[in-house]
């Protein structure tokens, strides 16, 4: 069979359904990945608009641009959006799109689970914004501390919307994480042993494991909160033996790992960009991997540093200070490794590389203010002030958004087949970098001068006027940066330079196929013989052959050494996972108003699951015995 004939057959087998029905039924990893990326970017824009509105309100003292109630909704929705609807889904979506290509496979392990995850997440996001646009958005902050968010102090349905949004998005994250781990373990190209995986894949793997163990905590917590509010359970009611700090423990047992869930993939995007634009492997591969794993482990042992001001025993405070400071060791190892790599390699200044430099500056700043906050006495002073706001934005925007924008610029040619405009890209970076520092650096000083976070206005005599105005100007500059990035994407999509397969001369297997990749990803699956697969390929590197082109067959390899083991057939497009998400959605949204939503949801989900798993007409080998 010649290549063209094979191409035609594979293209038919892996054909992506089109239109609305296609969107609802397709489970190909590039489709689901792009759905996640686009949707989470839209939520990022919404979260950004909320930020601009908040900064506009705070620009001057005693401003009446928005009401205090709306301001509360703004900061709650902004935080919840950025954490739950933007950062984690964006990272998962990028992983779902890129990782299978990096592994040299045609599909992920559980495509329908990915599809279900996406629609669960989408329903959760729409639920939050339905509340927000109807002016009953949640208003107790993105971590919804009880008793403020409990039935006594937050009547109405605002907090219930928040709690159920959490349920949805966490179901989505968990499903994506399970699929990601199985794919990374079992779908790697022959030759790609664990110790040769690209660092970005390592990052997604470690992150997915963190999701598996962290997300259940917030689901348990939000379920307790919802049931306290709906059926009068007493988890957080002191009068009946409940405990408000239980909420904080459960929430931050999720919440702090969440920070690393967001930032570990950011660091591995960094490693990817550093290698691609210095044309050399990142220094200390094994150390880099161990740093990721160490960060993940330690990340589960630091949650109480969010609770230093709650009156915990002193021994506990010392322990959590020590473990928080411990995080600097693996992080510093990574930072120094990037610097060494840049120092020794070529230094190709393209837009993504600018974000690498921006990351180094901003993230190290955020890390240092983190070390400050890890010290209990200082934390007592700065708790709930703008210093914390500055710190967390330096870490999260520096640690995740800068690498992300760099990575999106880097992978844009793979997604679309077009290059992003370089000049516009540099201007975008300039606005990002200047705007970011202008917005958030003054917040350190505001915090040191005692300005508390989450106040909708302040008196002119407090001495905070100029710094607030500066910060607001910065927010607008940053906003222009985001607009420029979008304009660049639209212009480049229409009239950008044709990219070709590997425009950056990069190293990992996603560049081993055309841009954008065909629906079957690779005409012949690749094999690898070392890290930095493309750079180290032999001239006559073997390809994999022997799949039935009329079925969606995928190669499964051994866990450690990626030796070819068996094949599986992955499912074609189907509506059932979307229906399951819809069924869960009906149940959970009904449960905002009546506990009967739970059995209703279980019944509908049971029907959808039966449809999902009902066997197709058999076309594989049958058992010798039959009923």
């Amino acid at each position: 069979m010649i290549d063209l004939e094979l191409h035609v057959q594979l293209a038919e087998t892996w054909r992506k359904p089109r239109g609305l029905w296609g969107w609802l039924t397709d489970n190909h990893h590039t489709t689901i990945g792009m759905n996640f990326i686009v949707t989470s970017f839209v939520f990022f824009l919404l979260g950004g608009i909320e930020a601009i509105l908040m900064r506009t309100q705070l620009a001057r003292p005693e401003n009446h641009f928005v009401t205090n109630d709306f301001y509360n909704q703004l900061f709650t929705t902004h935080g919840s959006t950025m954490m739950f609807l933007f950062a984690v889904p964006m990272i998962e979506g990028l992983g779902i799109y890129i990782v299978p290509l990096m592994l040299g496979t045609r599909q992920m392990s559980f495509p329908r689970l990915n599809q279900f995850s996406y629609f669960s997440y989408l329903i959760g996001g729409l639920l939050l914004y339905a509340g927000f646009f109807l002016n009953f958005g949640p208003d107790a902050g993105w971590f919804s501390y009880v008793p403020l968010s409990g039935p006594e102090f937050a009547p109405g349905k605002r907090i219930d919307i928040w709690a159920q949004m959490i349920t949805f998005t966490e179901i989505g994250s968990l499903g994506g994480a399970v699929s990601m781990i199985a794919t990374i373990f079992k779908h790697r190209a022959p030759g790609m042993s664990l110790n040769r995986m690209p660092l970005f894949v390592w990052g997604e793997l470690v992150t997915s494991f963190m999701i598996v163990f962290a997300m259940p905590a917030v689901m348990v917590a939000s379920s307790m909160l919802a049931s306290d509010r709906l059926i009068a359970t007493q988890f957080f009611n002191k009068a009946e033996g409940g405990d408000v700090l239980l909420w904080q423990h459960l929430f931050w047992f999720f919440g702090h790992p969440e920070v690393y869930i967001i930032f570990i993939p950011g660091t591995t995007m960094m490693s990817t960009l550093v290698s691609a634009f210095t044309k050399r492997p990142v220094f200390g591969y094994v150390g880099m991997v161990l740093s990721l794993v160490a960060t993940a482990f330690v990340g589960f042992g630091v949650w109480v540093h969010h609770m230093f001001a709650t009156g915990l025993p002193e021994l506990g405070l010392s322990f959590f200070t020590a473990s928080s400071v411990l995080i600097t060791i693996p992080t510093a190892f990574q930072v120094f490794s990037w610097i060494i790599t840049i120092f020794h390699g070529k230094f190709i200044v393209r837009t993504p590389m600018l974000y690498v430099l921006g990351f180094l500056f901003i993230f190290v700043m955020g890390g240092l203010s983190g070390v400050m906050l890890a010290s209990t006495p200082l934390d007592w002073q700065l708790h709930d002030t703008f210093f914390v706001v500055a710190h967390l934005h330096y870490v999260l925007i520096g640690g995740m958004l800068f690498p992300l924008i760099g990575a999106l610029t880097y992978w844009f040619p793979k997604f679309t087949g077009k290059m992003m405009n370089e000049t516009l890209g540099r201007w975008t970076f300039a606005f990002f970098f200047v705007g970011f520092n202008l917005t958030f650096f003054p917040m350190h000083n505001l915090g040191l001068h005692g300005m508390p976070r989450r106040v909708y206005t302040y008196l002119p005599t407090m001495g905070w006027n100029n710094l607030n105005m500066l910060s607001t100007v910065g927010a607008y500059v940053l906003g222009v940066g985001v607009l420029l990035f979008m304009a660049n994407a639209v212009i480049s999509l229409r009239s950008g330079a044709i990219a070709g397969d590997n425009p950056w001369g990069s190293f990992s297997l996603e560049w081993f196929t055309s841009s954008p990749p065909p629906p079957y990803n690779f005409l012949y699956l690749p094999t690898t013989r070392d890290r930095y697969e493309i750079w180290t390929m032999a001239d006559d590197q073997p390809l994999v052959t022997g799949f039935r082109p009329d079925r969606r067959e995928v190669l499964i390899t051994k866990l450690m050494d990626a030796f070819p083991d068996h094949k599986i057939e992955t499912p074609r497009p189907t509506i059932w996972p979307t229906l399951l998400a819809g069924a869960t959605g009906i149940g959970v949204i009904t449960a905002i108003f009546t506990p009967w939503g739970v059995p209703l949801g279980m019944l509908l989900a049971g029907i959808a699951l039966t449809g999902w798993f009902w066997p197709k007409p058999p076309h594989h080998e049958l058992l010798e015995e039959q009923p």
């Binding site: 199985a182 598996v212 007493q234 073997p542 039935r548 049958l622």
Partner: protein, 204 residues
């Protein structure tokens, strides 16, 4: 029919590889254990919350708490444990590709799990406090809810699997899934034991 290699290149031919595998070779095996990791984390967090709330109290459970009768709760445990025996037959037979023991194993396993659902229903009906009585009631009912959720969904899954096994046709590649269904069911059984002991016997 399968692809053939392009002329003039070395290639790895995978056309003869099997279409399924057992154990950790199988991606779904990983999927299941990750699901169990998620579920276990939830159970552990519920247990942690239980002991966290317990730490605030001098008498635990609060005065006036009446549990479901011990013999009734023990009946549920017995039914759960009994269900392990036939599902173990099915588990073993699946790797030998023998249909009959799998059918019988799943039929009996489903009956035992259905029996556990019935006694669980009576248990819930006889618990002498409500989820809104106090924090103790809330956490114990949460544990009951979580486990009963798994119990019923596991029973439905066993029942559907039994129907499919008797209806046929049965493909060989269903055999790894049979084993995974058994493992999931055993998780439902095993996860209850520590909770049962704590709810029934933990008093201060």
């Amino acid at each position: 029919m399968s692809e053939t290699a392009p002329v003039g290149r070395r290639f790895v031919d995978v056309s003869e590889l099997p279409m399924f595998a057992f154990g950790p070779r199988d991606p779904i095996w990983w999927g299941l254990w990750l699901l169990l990791a998620i579920e276990s984390t939830m159970f552990v967090l519920l247990a942690s919350s239980y002991f966290y709330l317990r730490g605030n109290e001098s008498t635990w459970p609060p005065p006036g708490v009446h549990q479901a009768p011990l013999w009734l709760t023990a009946l549920t445990v017995v039914a759960l444990l009994l269900s392990v025996i036939p599902t173990w037959w099915a588990f073993r037979a699946a790797i030998q590709f023998r249909l009959r023991p799998i059918q019988i194993g799943f039929l009996l396993g489903t009956l035992a799990s259905a029996a556990a659902c019935v006694t669980r229903a009576y248990e819930l009906a006889t618990i002498g406090y409500n989820w809104n009585s106090h924090a103790y009631g809330s956490i114990v009912w949460a544990i009951y809810f979580m486990h009963t959720f798994h119990l019923t969904s596991g029973t439905v899954e066993n029942a559907v699997m039994t129907v499919l096994l008797f209806k046929g046709p049965v493909e060989k590649k269903l055999m790894p899934d049979i084993r995974l269904s058994c493992i999931y069911w055993w998780f439902v059984v095993v996860s209850w034991i520590p909770f049962w002991i704590v709810i029934m016997f933990d008093k201060s």
